[in-house]
Amino acid sequence: MGHASMLNRPEQDAGKDVWNAYLHERANIAGDVEDLWCHDMGCAAWIVVRRNTISHTIYEAKLANEVRDAD
């Protein structure tokens, strides 16, 4: 569902530029990324997957709430 930076939601009054960056702008890396997936047809869990966008290799998957609460 998109970059795992989505977990770091800005404060409501953070301003236009911060919100634009959060909602729209993407590093869009060709290589290793962390992004958010939803186990749609399964248990509906949100997970953060560390993977490679060129090779499609998956290195690691963690529950999204654990990643968020760890920060």
Binding site: G2, N20, H24, A30
Partner: protein
């Protein structure tokens, strides 16, 4: 050499020994007026119209691979002007009119075939939505005909009309829509640009963009540094990487879209047919292959190949709509990298860096846009101001929220288009 029926006869009688290469392979010059990064459809058409419409010919198109090796040679070639929202509507209408003269313009056969497109609908609500879209198309000056079920049956008798999942209620017919030979579009623009003096430099990867005091000065490439007064970023699926060389972060995610082709068959599908409910569309190429596809794989990717779940989904949808294709054998499938924008519409704009121009966000619909995008981009680069039909494709619309063009009405966010 100009192509003509006379040339074919003459070459045929002289052993076809007189055909010459379609474009030169020049060494890069130290400096150009305009450098275009990316030799896809959009980069090549921009170079062509800069030369033809604005008399600017000291141009280099820098392509890291070969001309036509990107998405311009990977797409399923649907050409249409059936958009609804202001901004998109006038742009694609203009682009389709350019298509209709393009082959004469660049003197090359791109096999543009206006065989008509039929978008199927499957409920009363969808019929209303298509009636509205058709009216928008007509008021834009394009053509649209609302067909009922019998009207569709006469044109496409091979569909399964009574399928239990999505019975067919009718279709929106766009007679001027159709397809073209994608490689030939790239070659035609390349040839037309080269004939007017543009340097097309293949195997030349841009690795950096030189900026001094907020003004673009040139680029670094795998074949050395090249200076330029103006630089245009036109790298489709790789937009974020080239923009990052100029310190820009774009509102773009790169996604993979797959396509499929069957073995060559005798003519059986005369139009382009889209089955939105099943995420499936199909046409038959002039070589006889059934060319079809569906939706994105829906995860960011630069792999230029997709995964099997989407392949299975597309083939199931095809079998539901037209069971006859089950008899055809699949030849191959491939993927291309789409620069997806948050609202599903493109960007043709200046950047904050003087002399640096941006053209991206074509999503899965940039092939039909090749002439229009090149024409409008050439205007922007030459005159430093947006061109009428593309004036709404602004980069800042996501930051301001003004002028978003969300054709599907799903929201201006990534992963919704």
């Amino acid at each position: 050499m100009r192509f003509s029926a006379w040339q074919i006869i003459k070459q045929g009688l002289t052993g076809n020994k007189g055909w010459t290469p379609h474009w030169r392979s020049p060494e890069p010059k130290p400096e150009y007026d305009v450098i275009i990064i990316g030799g896809g459809g959009h980069g090549l058409s921009t170079a062509f119209y800069l030369a033809k419409e604005h008399g600017i010919t000291n141009i280099a198109v820098l392509e890291k691979g070969y001309i036509g090796g990107g998405n311009v040679g990977r797409n399923t070639t649907i050409v249409r002007a059936n958009y609804m929202l202001p901004g998109n509507s006038e742009f694609y209408s203009h682009s389709l009119r350019l298509w209709e003269n393009m082959e004469t313009d660049f003197n090359f056969n791109a096999m543009h075939s206006q065989r008509g497109i039929i978008n199927l609908f499957h409920s009363d609500g969808q019929r209303d939505a298509y009636a509205r879209r058709g009216n928008q198309m007509i008021s834009q000056g394009d053509d649209a005909v609302l067909l009922d079920r019998e009207g569709v049956r006469q044109m496409l008798p091979y569909l399964d009309f009574e399928q239990t999942r999505f019975p067919i209620f009718g279709g929106l017919y766009h007679p001027r829509g159709g397809s073209a030979r994608h490689d030939a579009v790239a070659w035609g623009y390349a040839r037309g640009a080269d004939m007017r003096g543009v340097d097309i430099i293949q195997n030349c990867e841009v690795t950096g963009i030189d900026i001094e005091g907020g003004i673009v000065k040139g680029v670094q490439t795998s074949r050395g540094a090249i200076r330029a007064k103006k630089v245009a970023l036109m790298t489709a699926g790789r937009s974020s990487q080239t923009a990052a060389m100029a310190g820009l972060t774009l509102p773009i995610e790169s996604h993979v879209l797959q396509a499929f082709v069957s073995e060559g068959l005798k003519p059986c599908i005369d139009h382009v047919v889209t089955y939105g409910m099943g995420h499936f569309y199909i046409s038959q190429s002039d070589k006889g292959g059934l060319v079809f596809g569906g939706d994105l794989d829906f995860y960011a990717s630069y792999a230029a190949r997709g995964n099997l779940p989407m392949a299975e989904h597309v083939l199931e949808a095809g079998m539901t709509l037209m069971p006859m294709i089950g008899k055809a054998r699949m030849l191959r499938s491939w993927g291309g990298i789409m620069d997806m924008s948050p609202d599903g519409s493109p960007i043709i704009d200046k950047t904050d860096i003087s002399g640096l121009y941006l053209n991206c966000g074509w999503c899965y619909g940039g092939f039909k846009a090749v002439p229009g995008s090149g024409f409008s981009m050439a205007h922007l680069v030459a005159k430093d101001e947006p061109h009428g039909p593309a004036a709404k494709f602004r980069l800042d619309r996501f930051a301001t929220g003004l002028g978003l063009m969300d054709e599907e009405g799903t929201g201006a966010q990534h992963n919704l288009h």
